[in-house]
Symmetry: C2
Subunit: 215 residues, 2 copies
Amino acid sequence: MTATTHQLFRDQSTGKKKRERTRSALLDSAISVFASKGFEATRIVDITTHAEMANGTFYNYYQDKDELLSDVAAGLAVEITGRINDEMDSIRHGPTRVALATARLLKIARREPEWLSVMLEGLFIVPELQSAVVQYLKQDLEMGIEQGHFSTEINVLLINQILSLIRAALLLDPEMSDDTVAQTCEAVLRLLGMTPKRATRLVARVFERHLSTDE
Amino acid sequence: MTATTHQLFRDQSTGKKKRERTRSALLDSAISVFASKGFEATRIVDITTHAEMANGTFYNYYQDKDELLSDVAAGLAVEITGRINDEMDSIRHGPTRVALATARLLKIARREPEWLSVMLEGLFIVPELQSAVVQYLKQDLEMGIEQGHFSTEINVLLINQILSLIRAALLLDPEMSDDTVAQTCEAVLRLLGMTPKRATRLVARVFERHLSTDE
DNA sequence: GCTTGTTTTGAGATATATCTCATTTTTGAG
DNA sequence: CTCAAAAATGAGATATATCTCAAAACAAGC
């Protein structure tokens, strides 16, 4: 029962001290187990078994499950926001940035189905983590408002609505078909006050200009 | 530690046989405990203690927690949809129906904060229950589309997006201020393809025409 | 108030998780 | 290679939940 696809934290820690490598193995296993059984239902021993260690080892690193979840979610947030921001510097059109970021996020979820669900679970259970992820989103929203494309107030409910739309997509279609991605992007833009026509057109353009290759 | 506010199922079963009354006491206690600790975290004994019975009594009625949740959520769904539909017969304008139903749902959550969270938890954990609740919503959506006010396809993702917006409101502001209610109604209408201006105007009208008294 | 069927009770058997720590194993610097 | 420090181990002590069932309490018809 070793990890199959991702090796995110293990990869980041090869060459480093043993302590770092073990911690990373715990983090990677936590992603797999949290994603498959859900956070509440997973037992410490599920994670250590998956990581092929003794259960006592866990307690050399964390006090409890929550501490581990924080760590995992924070690490995933860094990785995911990093990937999304990649090559977005050049884009200075608010709605395009929002649509592209949303689409990229969901496409990451397609490649690495476990990442997004675990990160979101972390964001909802350990709300302090939200600020880190959400700062980018807020900047893009402000840009879109200043440019006159969005018609909305930025408040905490709006942010949660957007996160909820993303979670709904993940829950309903973990495979993350292009349809689901497109419908979710359009939903976000509508929520922000764009008309259906403009939203559809923009999403289509974002798909062909920025996402045609990166499958 | 007896129930304070609601007595939904107890009230429905006064006069009936003992068996019914005990079952109702379990259901009412389940609402309180699920709402305060969350479904996963509640233990059977939490519910029986709250209901002031021996823990063994639970097993005369249910096999496990999930069975109880189904029962509770189904009962709540009947009560809540009944209240929402009350006096909506006369309204034949799709968007008004959607806005009013959303606002009423959230205002029920204000009076009975436990009901909606438990019902939603049930809908997400026992998806079979969704169809019962969602049929009304679908009818209103179809009406709005036929009348040319909505611009969207009705599919399961859309339904989940709407439910998610409602859950976001509940999570963020359980007190359910008028602001939260209004913002959520507008978000639903935007999602369905109405322009921000129309959505705002419609929600304002629904508030003054249909909701001014029922506080 | 007696009797029979129904419901409740709660102690304890069973199951499952957490957490500790004396011991063993591994690591890596010299 | 050697050895002290670091890390891992896993059996078992502690804690917590589930579920059962013989006995007690109760309800209701006669």
